[in-house]
């Protein structure tokens, strides 16, 4: 679901085909019939944005028919834990949970807690910082996580199991049909097959990609999938689990070692304003009374600070904690671009990134970039984000004049991935080392070279400064090993992995990291990739020479291939079945063993019970497989850590043609909106005039191009495979709008209109939603105005609205109109779109009234 794996990950997809050859059933659930659907056993079309209703239906099916893997659920999840009395479900509040604050459009999670615990964190502030992003490696904190009151029989009305049951009771097969457009019979077949293929002897895997994440309820989509996989006992087991396919090469690495505003490496939180000391900071991110390895966050943080500032970081100065910047709000990419438009940002580095084509609301991106002092673009070719000021669409409309555009653009040639050595971290958390194959041409240089020397030059320029402000830069430990003038990637990897400063040797793994300044590690989850002074990421033992895949590359953490694999054995440490054994307790040896590195303390026996008052790792029982969670269990119900509800709930997308059939609450009440003049939204029920944009819009990839096209539209062999922008419509929609195959048409939203050739195809179907016929259209988003082939920028159609947990934009579903013929050009385009906005009655308040259960605030903002 939410993935077009064959088209987006064709090489990885070979393993799905292998599995299929061995009898695996492949089901593809997607609004569109794609190349993945063509080889799947079954394709189920559903309405874009309705996946939670489908998944909720599956949860309801499992619970109503008692098809859950009961022993697994009881032992390993929080199903038996009792929720606080003050909790109110969407069943009680028309689609809201208890604790909603209309003024800040955020939830206070106090009432979501277990009967005996208290929350950590603050709803509105967490939303600004997308705090849940920071739980990428460890669970959300809760206070008092031992001995949570529970009912192992799962009958108590406030136990999580019963709360779940009640919450999903209305997600019947008939409701799935109404909301998703999937016939009830088809839905039941899928749910049945999923449940039947799970349990002791069998497991089912769930694969998703950005078709799930790029929604205003994206995090909840994944939560819903997780709940199902937990109920069926598929997590931590071979052939089961959830595989998140990431969007492009090494993007997993760029969240692990991030350039995100709210994250430090290893998903440590970026300090916020108010974190005066390291102790304050650590207090915020962990709680003292919780279980698990996240309890040791101090070791991870101190080791990071030591890597940054080396000898300058000592216990006396809090390990230079104060040198770290603090965030005080939403500094996400979209907010930053808006700040550019508002004149608050002066410089921008774009490194292998093309927001003029690849980010939502392309016009906003380009207008923002046109209002800078300087812009540095490092790329393989002159991408649209470097040339927008002279030949972008806004030049044609007159919004940008090349002669007067104030941004000075510095375009640097970048080395490609074969022209430098380094690691890729891919979707399965695997680091693989790449050797350099050829020298970069001319002046092209690697990222390491550029930033190392930029840092060096800045430090040289500031060398005699006495301003305290310059200390963070000058105190940096900037002594990476050089190969000529090229920093050694292996040295960087080694420092990321971690070094024991007392011995000078690489650490073995994150268990070796200390909070006393004696170790350094650039990213604690990567700790161990350079263990034994060997670049573990460079290992290439073929699968013909090893029984499993442990000796190819290195996965974080600690080369564990399947996370939480303790759950592949029962509470007594025996595999659930011989057929599906992965790791198990070897009584004779007194340790965990098996086909994978155990994701558990090797010597902790299954019947270990913690002593009174134990915290952290010590507090984990021998049957707590979810070792990063504050209570050691998997969360069916999330008492903390998700900002828009403890349970996934179907909300309509921000832009939708239909009223939410399930609740009075229309959309995600906590979603992040930016109600500005330059970020209009199409109206959705209960707002009027939605019929101006009556169709559902979705966009995705083609195999033949790569994301924003900077790497593919320059190559003849790829460009000729998909040489033009097209829009896919069903024959029925073609009839409604008078569209002819291969003629021009244009798609319109309140942001702009784009031209495309019409593809009439039955791979898109109209769906019956409630009493509507809903038409969906699809476009690939790879085109821009540069390269061998060009086309309008599809991302220009989207506005900015984001999931509150991680600030990902909702780019997989919106509403639109489509008309035959080409769009107006030049300034006439602006008038044309303005006329649409006028007919739809759009103001800055449109789309900003988030709580639709009663009178509430419009969350628009003043645009200076």
């Amino acid at each position: 679901m939410g993935s077009n794996m064959a088209e987006a990950h064709p090489v990885g997809f070979q393993w799905v085909m292998e599995a299929k050859a061995r009898g695996t059933q492949v089901v593809h659930i997607d609004p569109r019939f794609t190349r993945t659907s063509a080889v799947a056993d079954r394709h189920v079309p559903l309405r874009a944005g309705s996946d939670i209703a489908f998944l909720g239906g599956v949860i309801n099916y499992i619970l109503s028919n008692e098809l859950d893997f009961r022993e697994y659920v009881t032992a390993y999840t929080n199903a038996s834990f009792l929720v606080d009395e003050s909790f109110r479900d969407t069943e009680d509040l028309d689609g809201l949970f208890s604790g909603y604050d209309d003024a800040t459009a955020s939830y206070d999670p106090t009432s979501w807690h277990y009967e005996s615990t208290t929350p950590v964190g603050d709803g509105a502030g967490d939303k600004e910082r997308a705090a849940p992003d920071q739980h990428g490696s460890g669970g959300a904190p809760i206070e008092g996580a031992q001995d949570i009151p529970a009912d192992p029989t799962l009958q108590h009305p406030r136990c999580v199991y019963q709360v779940l049951k009640r919450h999903y009771a209305r997600y019947t097969p008939e409701m799935v049909e109404r909301v998703c457009g999937v016939p009830a019979a088809s839905f039941l077949q899928i749910a049945k097959a999923w449940a039947e293929n799970s349990g002791r002897e069998r497991t089912a895997a769930l694969v998703y990609s950005v078709g799930w994440t790029q929604h205003s309820v994206g995090a909840q989509y994944i939560r819903a999938g997780s709940i199902i996989q937990l109920l069926l006992g598929n997590i931590g087991r071979p052939g089961g689990g959830i595989l998140a396919l990431r969007g492009h090469a090494s993007i997993q690495g760029s969240t692990d070692v991030p350039t995100l505003f709210n994250l430090l490496p290893g998903y440590l939180a970026m300090p916020t304003a108010g974190d005066a000391t390291l102790a304050d900071y650590l207090d915020q991110i962990t709680s003292q009374n919780q279980k698990g390895f996240w309890h040791n966050a101090d070791a991870y943080m101190v080791s990071l600070l030591k890597e940054y500032w080396g000898d300058a970081a000592t216990a006396d100065n809090d390990y230079c904690f104060d040198y770290l910047p603090r965030i005080n709000g939403d500094h996400g990419t979209y907010r930053t671009v808006m700040d550019m438009v508002d004149g608050k940002v002066f410089g921008y580095f774009l490194l292998g990134q093309n927001p003029a084509v690849g980010s939502a609301h392309g016009r906003l991106q380009r207008l923002g970039m046109a209002n800078l002092d300087w812009l540095v673009v490092r790329d393989l070719v002159e991408i649209e984000s470097a040339s927008f000021w002279k030949d972008g669409p806004e030049v044609e409309t007159g919004e940008i004049t090349p002669e007067t555009c104030r941004t000075e653009v510095f375009l640097f040639p970048a080395a490609s991935h074969v022209e430098k050595a380094g690691s890729f971290t891919q979707t399965q958390r695997m680091l693989q080392w790449r050797e350099q194959a050829v020298e970069p041409p001319g002046d092209a240089r690697s990222e390491l070279w550029f930033f190392y020397h930029l840092g060096r030059i800045l430090r040289e320029k500031l060398a005699y400064s006495i301003d305290a402000r310059d200390r963070p830069l000058l105190d940096l430990s900037w002594d990476y090993a050089l190969d000529g003038d090229e920093p050694s990637g292996e040295d960087v990897l080694r420092r990321i992995s971690g070094v024991d400063l007392t011995t000078g040797r690489a650490v073995d793994n994150y268990l070796d990291l200390k909070a006393d300044g004696s170790t350094m590690s650039g990213c604690w989850i990567y700790s161990g990739v350079y263990a034994d002074e060997v670049n573990q990421a460079a290992r290439r033992t073929p699968r013909t020479e090893q029984a499993h895949d442990d000796d190819w590359g290195w996965t974080w953490p600690m080369n564990r291939r399947i996370l939480y694999n303790r759950a592949s054995a029962d509470p007594q440490g025996r595999p659930w079945s011989e057929r599906k054994k992965l790791v198990w307790w070897d009584e004779a040896q007194g340790e965990w063993t098996g086909h994978d590195v155990p994701d558990f303390e090797r010597k902790k026996s299954p019947d270990y019970r913690p002593p009174e008052g134990a915290v952290g790792v010590e507090a984990l029982r021998g049957d707590d497989p979810f070792i990063m969670q504050a209570d050691g269990k998997a969360w069916l119900f999330a008492p903390n850590g998700v900002l828009d509800g403890p349970l996934p709930t179907h909300y309509e997308p921000h832009e939708s043609p239909v009223r939410n059939p399930l609740y009075v609450q229309q959309g995600n009440p906590a979603r992040k909106v930016y109600g500005r003049q330059d970020n209009p939204s199409n109206p959705s029920p209960p707002e009027a005039h939605g019929e101006v944009f009556p169709f559902v819009f979705t966009a995705a990839r083609l195999t033949e191009h790569h994301t924003a096209g900077g790497m593919s539209r320059q190559l003849a062999y790829l460009s000729e495979l998909q040489p033009g922008l097209f829009v896919e419509v069903s024959p029925e929609l073609a009839s409604v709008r008078g569209l002819v195959h291969m003629d021009w048409a244009h798609v319109v939203t309140s942001r702009t209109a784009v031209d495309a050739r019409v593809f009439v195809t039955e791979r898109l179907r109209p769906l019956h939603i409630d009493d509507h016929v809903v038409h969906q259209i699809w476009m690939p988003y790879h085109f821009g105005n540069k390269g061998l082939v060009d086309g309008d920028v599809v991302n220009d159609l989207l506005g900015v609205v984001a999931d509150p947990n991680v600030l990902i934009q909702e780019s997989k579903v919106a509403t639109c109109d489509i008309q035959p013929g080409r769009r107006p050009r030049g300034p006439a385009l602006l008038d044309y779109v303005a006329a649409y906005r006028s007919r739809a009655g759009i103001t800055t308040k449109t789309g900003t009234n988030l709580d639709t259960t009663g009178p509430s605030t419009d969350h628009d903002e003043e645009t200076p």
């Binding site: 064959a6 088209e7 064709p10 090489v11 997809f13 070979q14 085909m17 050859a21 019939f33 190349r35 993945t36 659907s37 063509a38 080889v39 079954r42 394709h43 189920v44 079309p45 457009g181 999937v182 016939p183 088809s186 083609l702 195999t703 033949e704 003849a716 062999y717 790829l718 460009s719 000729e720 495979l721 998909q722 040489p723 033009g724 097209f726 024959p731 029925e732 929609l733 073609a734 009839s735 409604v736 195959h741 291969m742 050739r757 593809f759 009439v760 195809t761 039955e762 791979r763 179907r765 109209p766 769906l767 019956h768 016929v773 061998l788 082939v789």
Partner: protein, 304 residues
């Protein structure tokens, strides 16, 4: 030459062409289109390895096929056919509707249009067939086209003078003269890679092993098993194409597993090497030549 040199089953084309018994076994492609994901890595890998020029940037509107057909500048071509349903049985339905691969416009209908289990999207990577009896090879008047020791068919670019005869002699419509260059070009089955014991670039790149390369008789065995397996799983439309040494070209060096009739993919249903009728053609020509002699002689008999 043996009796079957022009037509009929021929077990050893390379031997028949004059190589001694030390020549390597015949190799070829088995393209299993039931696992093709339409990624076109084969098209790109081929062009990269063989430095084939691009074939123009035209959006053809034939589903995801913007290559169109095999030709001088496209040696692998991935075909896409969207089939809304009601597919034909195994080759016997003469009354199959005209299928241009594109759906017709329908009236807007407020029907429940849910799942349609019979909808298919066929994808298939086409290539030069390296026929056992190759029309192009038979008619080449310069000897540019030749049978390699691997039993494949290759054009020598330093000899071809662009006469274009091979273009018309190919029953599959594969080989073509390259514009601006004048010579005929087609897939070489990466002859240079074969010399170094490597598989052709397309087979190497194909992620799902839709394109399989190896000794031809092994491939034929594997293909037969695969068809059986598919039939057991209820995919009764699976059939092999070009595998049969008794067919009109003596069987192909590149054969396919298809999920519908060949013409749906743009392949001829029953291709025959033109050379089959060579004997008859020359006999008729001889008769006509005799008639001409007769006419000429009789024109002078008599007095006027």
């Amino acid at each position: 030459m043996s009796g079957n040199s022009f037509y009929g089953p021929l077990a050893d084309p390379a031997g028949d062409a004059g190589y001694d018994e030390r020549h390597p076994p015949r190799v070829g492609f088995f393209t299993d289109t039931s696992v093709c994901i339409g990624c076109k890595a084969c098209e790109v890998a081929c062009k990269e390895w063989n430095e084939v020029p691009d074939d123009g940037f035209d959006l053809l509107g034939m589903s995801f096929d913007n290559t169109g057909e095999l030709g001088a500048n496209s040696w692998r071509h991935v075909a896409f056919v969207e089939q809304p349903g009601g597919r034909s049985g195994v080759g016997e339905d003469l009354k199959a509707p005209v299928d241009l691969g594109m759906p017709e416009l329908k009236q807007a209908v407020a029907d429940v249009v849910g799942e349609r289990p019979d909808f298919r999207w066929l994808m298939s990577s086409d290539v030069c067939k390296h026929c056992t009896h190759a029309g192009c090879l038979d008619v080449c008047p310069t000897g540019a086209l030749f049978r390699t020791e691997f039993s494949t068919v290759v054009v020598q670019q330093d000899i071809c003078n662009g006469c274009g005869y091979c273009v018309s002699a190919c029953p599959y419509g594969v080989i073509e003269r390259r514009e601006g260059d004048g010579r005929a070009w087609k897939c070489t089955m990466c002859y240079d890679r074969l010399h170094d014991g490597l598989e052709p670039a397309c087979a190497k790149a194909c992620p799902t092993d839709s394109i399989q390369f190896g000794p031809l008789d092994e491939l034929r065995e594997r293909a037969a098993l695969r068809v059986e397996q598919l039939h057991e799983r209820g995919v009764t439309e699976a059939r092999l194409y070009g595998h049969d040494p008794n067919d009109g070209v003596g069987g192909d060096g590149a054969f396919f597993l298809l999920l519908d009739e060949p013409e749906v993919y743009g392949l001829p249903p029953d291709p025959v090497v033109p050379t089959r009728d060579a004997g008859a053609m020359w006999r008729y020509a001889g008769l006509a030549a005799s008639a001409l002699v007769g006419i000429a002689v009789s024109a002078f008999v008599g007095r006027r």
